[in-house]
């Protein structure tokens, strides 16, 4: 990829990405519903790294493209338009920016290049069996012993731990004071003795989510990011453009286009009820797209987007579900079978529908988001 990509006018920028994708995206991974794991994901990472089409939000000094918010959105849209399967960008999108902002010089120098190259594959260890919505109640403990922390506890819903080399954990280093104040941010090599990963099969049949058990796992103190007790602040400051990803209209767009394909395949495209349902869903998608764009503009102008982020999360996830619900209902008996053959190939309706179910649960459930809106946006009183 050309060095001056970031300085191109936006239409030219998009065109460059489009032709790069045509030339270098393996046809086999043009599967928009899927999330890549293992060898396929690693290969795609290496391709992007080799061509310098990776870490769009990182500063150039750390090997990133330093794209503007608008450009990052455009890039994501081009990848989506090409139908590229998604990947777990935990290292580049979450940990990288975190280390750039909060990491020690050693951590940045040691870990950033390895995130970029894909040599280290990262996952995020936050939730626990007893700490989901109430994450601050987490109990996985890290006790200082000489030059190490000794970690004991259990994480759950750690996506892709079964294909990762490293994990960043929220651990409890103190039980004094407010529960948030005793939480620290620790980088762990999953190959350390005492770590045990157990994949969990989800309803869609995939092994993505994992339980990870930590039994007397020794972690060098140099892997503590920031100060002890700063973990909650660090975790809450999900940085930059990635915050917008959670409100992306892309999944709902995919759901809606699948609805249309089902309608076409069943000869129902002109059915008035189908038209009305399409009109209803398209209007809602239009609203979501407008809101997403407003948040991008606000972010680019350095205005606060806190409230809009919660609104985006609720609306994007619930609309995604609305589209997949409508699709599977329209498919009738084919919905029960979960698949529908069309002239353009087989549609995996069950897959898309099931993938939409956790959208309202992870990343701050719809209920928690509404609590946030009620308290912080509307100023409604505590109980």
């Amino acid at each position: 990829m050309r060095d001056d990509l970031a300085s191109l006018p936006i239409e030219h920028f998009r065109a460059e990405l489009r032709s790069w994708l045509e030339a270098h995206c393996p046809p086999a991974i043009r599967r928009p519903v899927d999330r890549l794991q293992g060898e396929e994901a690693e290969h795609w990472h290496r391709v992007r790294h080799a061509h310098g089409v990776i870490a769009p939000g990182w500063p150039r000094e750390y090997g990133g493209l330093e794209l503007t918010v608008d450009q990052q959105i455009a890039m994501a849209e081009e990848f989506e338009g090409h139908g590229v399967a998604r990947t777990f960008e935990v290292g580049t999108a979450m940990l990288g920016p975190t280390l750039i902002r909060f990491g020690s010089p050693w951590q940045r120098q040691h870990y950033l290049p390895r995130i970029l190259s894909g040599e280290d594959q990262w996952c995020q260890g936050y939730s626990e069996p007893g700490a989901g919505s109430d994450l601050a109640g987490l109990r996985t403990a890290a006790v200082r012993d000489g030059d190490d922390y000794v970690v004991n506890g259990q994480k759950i819903w750690t996506s892709n731990a079964n294909h990762s080399t490293h994990c960043f954990l929220l651990v409890r280093t103190s039980t004094e004071g407010r529960k948030q104040e005793g939480i620290s941010f620790l980088l762990v090599d999953l190959r350390t003795p005492g770590v045990h990963v157990r994949p969990i099969r989800n309803l869609a049949g995939h092994l993505e989510l994992c339980e990870v058990f930590y039994d007397d796992v020794r972690v060098p103190a140099a892997n503590l990011v920031g100060a002890e007790g700063q973990g909650w602040t660090i975790a809450k400051s999900l940085l930059g453009f990635e915050r917008l990803a959670i409100g992306s209209p892309a999944p709902a767009r995919l759901g809606l286009s699948t609805y249309r394909k089902v309608a076409d395949a069943l000869g129902l495209a002109d059915d008035p009820r189908v038209r009305a349902e399409r009109a209803r869903l398209e209007l809602r998608l239009h609203e979501l797209t407008c809101l997403s764009r407003a948040a991008v503009d606000a972010m680019a102008a350095d205005r606060s987007i806190e409230t809009d982020l919660s609104v985006l999360k609720i609306v994007a996830s619930e609309l995604f579900q609305a589209t997949t619900e409508a699709t599977i209902a329209l498919a009738a008996e084919h919905g029960a079978a979960g698949k529908l053959a069309t002239s353009a190939g087989e549609l995996d309706l069950a897959q898309l529908y099931l993938i939409s179910r956790p959208a309202t649960i992870f990343g701050g459930s719809s209920e928690v988001q509404r609590n946030i809106l009620a308290k912080r946006w509307l100023g409604l009183p505590d109980g």
């Binding site: 009109a279 209803r280 998608l285 239009h286 609203e287 509404r370 809106l373 409604l380 009183p381």
Partner: protein, 372 residues
């Protein structure tokens, strides 16, 4: 909550129009106007005219202020939050937009001047069938040898109006706009009071003479689309104020030892109302930007205007209904103000297209992808 002030001009409009309302309007006036014979408060209408508000959007060369749609949206927003009973939109903004769009000429110029000065009131009579949104298709009202015969339905702002701007099909089958004196021979009107107290008319023309033929009716479509977006802004104002009074109420009304606003079920519901309004606002913003674009695209404007009004109407009806629910029994009284917002939303929601009709229109014009 956010509202529709987007630039400095909008802020000035907020201040100036708000000042006029602070001095000369309150909900007591809204309530009083519910039994008014025509819906036009003459004194207030004169104030609007004298301060230039009737010509806010009319180009300066035609005697108006030439404000952008984005700036004038603030007026309609306030018409919503303050429950302005006057037919500012149907009897001021819309006919002014139609006349401003017609080619200049003696009769047209005189009419527009009289409207802006508040000396004469106009209503736009285009609709012939319920649920229809196309202004010039399949017109049954005809113009022949200077006389009009036909029927126009659901005309807002006609009671108390001195003149009508009606769409007619001429001898060549082309749709035109004509100016008709409301008191002319052959013009009959039946007026009905709507749920919020405003008046709507059913007009019959039997060989009614026209004052002037103002040209092709194609000028109406952009004016109606702008009116849709203005109505969207007003609906959002209604919704936002209904939610605001509800949040206030929920903070003061105590039951079971705490303000009812502390109960999670109500908190979540109000969060949903605020979300619905926010979505309507961004859709409205999108439409306003399309109208104010340097090179407006008619089809795009029509598509976004349909989306904006459908979205805003959904928000207004949902939120005002929910506002009454949260108020409990007193929400269902005439004395409590909250119910007034529901009635206003109910009346404005179907005007120029119900949400259902406008969603279909949005889809027909390209939907979310923007192209056919």
């Amino acid at each position: 909550m956010i509202g529709l002030v987007r630039d400095e001009v909008g802020s000035s409009v907020l201040e100036a129009f708000g000042g006029l309302l602070d001095a000369h309007h309150d909900l007591a006036r809204t309530r009083k106007m519910r039994t008014h014979p025509t819906g036009y408060d003459d004194a207030f209408w004169k104030r609007l005219a004298d301060a230039g508000w009737l010509g806010a959007r009319v180009p300066e060369r035609d005697g108006g202020s030439g404000l952008s749609a984005t700036a004038t949206a603030v007026i309609h927003d306030m018409a919503g939050t303050r429950l302005l009973p006057d037919p500012y939109l149907a009897g001021g903004y819309l006919p002014a937009a139609v006349l401003a769009g017609c080619p200049a000429g003696a009769e047209r110029d005189a009419a527009l001047g009289a409207l802006l000065a508040g000396e004469r009131r106009f209503a736009v009579a285009w609709q012939e069938r319920p649920g229809r949104v196309e202004a010039a298709d399949e017109l049954e009202t005809v113009l022949h040898r200077g006389r009009v015969t036909g029927r126009k339905r659901f005309v807002s702002g006609a009671a108390g109006a001195g003149a009508l701007l009606a769409t007619v099909s001429n001898d060549e089958g082309v749709a035109h706009i004509v100016l008709i004196d409301a008191a002319a021979h052959g013009v009959e009107g039946e007026t009905t009071r709507q749920v919020d107290g405003s008046m709507v008319s059913d007009l019959r023309f039997t060989d009614a003479p026209i004052v002037a033929d103002l040209g092709p009716a194609s000028v109406l479509e952009p004016a109606l689309d702008e009116a849709r977006v203005a109505a969207a802004a007003q609906l959002l104002g209604i919704a936002r104020e209904a939610l605001r009074v509800t949040i206030d109420y929920a903070g003061t009304r105590r039951q079971f030892g705490r303000p009812i606003g502390a109960f999670q079920a109500l908190q979540h519901r109000m969060a949903d109302f605020a979300t619905r309004i926010r979505l309507g606002e961004v859709a409205c913003d999108d439409a306003l930007r399309a109208i104010d674009a340097a090179e407006p695209d008619r089809r795009r404007t029509a598509r976004l205007a349909a989306a904006a009004k459908a979205s805003a109407a959904d928000a207004a009806v949902q939120v005002t209904q929910g506002a009454i629910q949260i108020h409990g029994a007193i929400g269902y009284t005439d004395e409590a103000d909250v119910g007034l917002f529901l009635l206003a939303a109910l009346r404005l929601s179907p005007w120029l297209g119900t949400p259902e009709i406008l969603r279909e229109r949005f889809l027909e014009l390209g939907g979310v992808a923007g192209d056919a």
